[in-house]
């Protein structure tokens, strides 16, 4: 069992938890992820590691409540436990393979969207430790959905916050901020790392390709085991089939087939939607509406 040391709601339906998982905490690097199961019969849920403390033996995860399993997860409190936490899974970010000297020569831009801000944070923090100050764009639909702003501010070179509805910071999508920074504000970047919803990564890649900035994305497809055994997470990169769990999760964003990846994410949408509804409505779910088999 993996005890929850801290649990708090960052904003509407986005939760942060510190979990005791010493084997993961002592071996993980930025870019890697874990798979958790909340209960004894729970689903295996992949989540990027948002922070880690090898000495305390703990990792930090951030998740958004999107279905029945995460709906259950948010009911867990400090002192409760996850049934399973396994990792670290996937390859560490390529940045971790470079020397601090090499890294310091690079001008790096991170683009984080929504809950994707969580996996961006450990990379920016890790870079700061190497003496590299990276710029970060954080995008959210609206002010209320913005997470980890203070934490990010403490580790980023420049932090640019943008909201789709203009309720906070700059106004518009992250792609607009990229364009403004590079084309109007004289910024230059050698590398962009974009993590967020698939659709955001797709459009960031479209823009950075035009701007000629190499771009890395972190993919979060459907997974089961996370060790390469099942192949559910296969994605097409540069025309070749890759398994996101062992070959990724980070890939060259300019070579990823996003349309296929987005279509594959819809595979269990109907079943998941029904399960979420059942979890939210509890005993009142079987209303005999005749609309589904449940």
């Amino acid at each position: 069992m993996y005890q929850i040391l801290q649990a708090r709601e960052l904003t509407n339906n986005i939760w942060l938890m510190d979990v005791h998982a010493p084997r993961v905490a002592s071996s993980c690097l930025p870019g890697q992820f874990v798979i958790v199961r909340a209960g004894e019969d729970g689903e295996r849920i992949p989540l990027t590691i948002c922070d880690y403390d090898a000495e305390a033996g703990s990792i930090t995860i951030v998740f958004q409540v999107v279905g029945a399993s995460t709906y259950f997860m948010k009911s867990l409190k400090a002192g409760d436990s996850f049934h399973d936490v396994v990792g670290p899974l996937g390859c560490a970010s390529d940045l971790t393979k470079e020397t601090p000297e090499e890294l310091r020569k690079k001008r790096i831009l991170f683009v984080a969207g929504g809950v994707g801000t969580a996996p961006v944070y450990p990379q920016v923090k890790w870079l700061k430790k190497q003496g590299v100050m990276a710029d970060v764009i954080v995008g959210a639909k609206t002010k209320d959905l913005l997470i980890l702003e203070k934490e990010m501010e403490a580790v980023a070179g420049n932090l640019y916050v943008t909201t789709d509805d203009g309720s906070y910071g700059r106004s518009g999508m992250v792609t607009k901020t990229i364009q403004d920074l590079v084309c109007a504000e004289g910024k230059q970047y050698d590398l962009c790392i974009a993590i967020g919803p698939m659709i955001m990564m797709k459009f960031v890649c479209k823009m950075t390709k035009e701007l000629n900035i190499p771009t890395v994305v972190s993919l979060n497809p459907i997974m089961v085991d996370g060790t390469g055994m099942c192949g559910a997470c296969r994605v097409t990169v540069d025309g070749k089939v890759k398994f996101a769990c062992v070959d990724g999760p980070e890939f060259d964003g300019h070579l990823v087939n996003f349309d296929e990846a987005m279509q594959r994410q819809l595979l269990y949408k109907t079943q998941e939607g029904r399960a979420y509804l059942a979890a939210q409505e509890g005993d009142t779910h079987h209303g005999g509406c005749g609309m589904c088999e449940g």
Binding site: R23, V24, S27, R37, D41, G42, E43, R44, A68, S69, H83, D84, V85, V86, G87, P88, L89, V224, D225, T227, G228, M229, C230, G231, A232, R234, V235, T236, V241, F243, V246, E260, Q263, R264, L266, L267, Y268, Q271, E272, A275
Partner: protein, 465 residues
């Protein structure tokens, strides 16, 4: 008394009934049937069946005990050689091993050794009898990677010799392929697999789940930082293969590994399971091995019409005869000498069909089987919503890429001595699918046993600590 040339028939769940449930297909022998079948054994002195058994169970001796009514004695004889008799009695390909060599088989049907083994193991389990552990511990720590048939056997053997054994399992539940791969209707999880694993634990073996060797911790760290004197790698098969034909990433194409893991490990066959599985209308399973049969029969039970698509003929099907027979009885349709060319995809990215081509058999290839050759112009289309690829696996590089000095062959399988499991790295032994590529439960167990022997020779030769 029945015909002495024929096996005592085993009772099975009716094919029409079982096609819609996940209960075990075969009921096994009762005491009376087992006794009658045991009496058919002539107890050869130079028994060929033992030579056909990868773990060399003393078959005539255990059958002799069954004949005498001493089932507990029979169990102790089997468990001296096998850590998982209730599993092997169910899933071993007996026709090509012990039963394939049985003298009775020359004139009539061989002794039903598998069913007798199952009877003895089930009897012992129900009677609460467990294998005997070591009297004294020697204090030496051995790490076993993977809790499938190879790992469990190796760990069990070493524990019996007094070693302090820890198994590291990557998934959340121990059992490996016995849990994620082989379906409930062939191998009940709670009633059989879990109990067999408990037997191994009762020998003193510790199992730590959720540890991925090569990621959570490396083999070198186990040897230098965690105090293990030797390591056995039984990490299993690996990454599923796909055909590389158009449409393979469409929604509705799965590896058999994924499909079976969802159903078996994650219990997605149950309506109330949180993990989903696609509820298909019409399914093609590509491949002809045991895994293909398991996937096909699972899809059938989940309500689909199921076709096995296999490029060679029935004779070359690698699956056990019993599985093919059961699959046919249940209504699986066999499209033999048929090979997929393309998966057809609708405008929203879902599978709508599969174009196949007819094959004929030509000259024998390197495997000794006649090579299938496409018949020009014979393409046709199957309408489907699901395709399951059961084409085997390629090795998982997680361990070999993170362990210095561990040699792999050109297929990226770990190189290990067949006799004692020794690898190119001192103190590291390996066996099972990680070494041979996808094979059977019993071959993995044989390799686990060889590895335990190798480790014992290595550590006892080295002197105590």
């Amino acid at each position: 008394m029945g015909d002495v040339l024929k096996k005592v028939p085993v009772r099975e769940q009716d094919a029409k009934v079982r096609a819609a449930n996940f209960e075990e297909v075969c009921y096994g022998y009762n005491a009376e049937e087992a006794l009658e079948e045991a009496k058919r054994c002539i107890g050869c002195r130079n028994a060929q069946c033992v030579k056909g058994c990868p773990v060399a169970i003393d078959i005539p001796a255990f059958i002799g005990r069954v004949k005498e009514g001493d089932v507990e004695g029979a169990y102790q004889i089997i468990s001296a050689s096998s850590a998982l008799p209730a599993v092997c009695g169910r899933v071993c390909p007996q026709e090509s091993q012990c039963e394939g060599k049985c003298i009775r088989g020359i004139k009539g049907e061989p002794i039903s050794i598998g069913k007798l083994e199952r009877y003895v193991a089930d009897w012992a389990r129900e009677a609460g009898i467990r294998p005997e552990g070591a009297k004294e511990k020697n204090g030496k720590k051995v790490a076993v990677i993977g809790s499938g048939p190879a790992g469990l056997t190796c760990a069990g053997d070493l524990a019996k010799l007094g070693y302090d054994v820890t198994i590291f399992e990557a998934l959340h539940e121990p059992g490996g392929v016995l849990v994620y791969g082989i379906p409930e209707f062939r191998l009940p999880k709670e009633a059989v697999v879990k109990k067999e694993i408990e037997n191994v634990e009762a020998l003193g073996v510790k199992i730590e789940t959720n540890v991925i060797i090569g990621k959570s911790v490396t083999i070198d760290q186990l040897l230098t930082e965690e105090g293990f004197s030797a390591v056995f790698i039984g990490s299993g098969a690996g990454l599923p293969k796909f055909m590389g034909i158009p449409g393979e990433n469409a929604n509705g194409v799965f590896s058999a590994n994924e499909y079976l893991t969802r159903s078996n490990l994650m219990k997605a066959f149950r309506e109330d399971a949180p993990t989903p599985i696609m509820r298909s209308r019409k399914v093609a399973v590509v491949g002809g091995g045991n895994v293909a049969m398991d996937a096909a029969r699972t899809a059938l039970r989940l309500g689909a019409e199921v076709h096995i698509v296999y490029r060679r003929s029935e004779e070359e099907l690698p699956a056990r005869v019993e599985e093919v027979h059961h699959a046919k009885e249940e209504g699986i349709i066999f499209d033999l000498l048929t090979n997929p060319v393309e998966i057809l995809v609708d405008e929203k990215g879902w599978v709508k069909g599969m174009t196949c081509i007819r094959m004929e058999l030509g000259e024998p290839d390197s495997s000794g089987r006649r090579r299938p050759v496409a018949v020009p112009g014979s393409e046709f289309t199957l309408e489907l919503d699901t395709v399951i690829m059961a084409l085997g696996t390629s090795p998982n590089p997680l361990i070999s890429s993170t362990t210095k000095g561990l040699d792999v062959n050109k297929w990226k399988c770990i190189v290990a001595d067949e006799q004692n499991g020794q690898t190119s790295k001192e103190g590291v032994y390996a066996g099972g699918d990680a070494v041979t590529g996808a094979a059977t439960v019993i071959l993995a167990m044989g390799a686990g046993r060889a590895g335990a022997r190798g480790i014992d020779e290595y550590l006892s030769g080295k002197g105590g600590n």
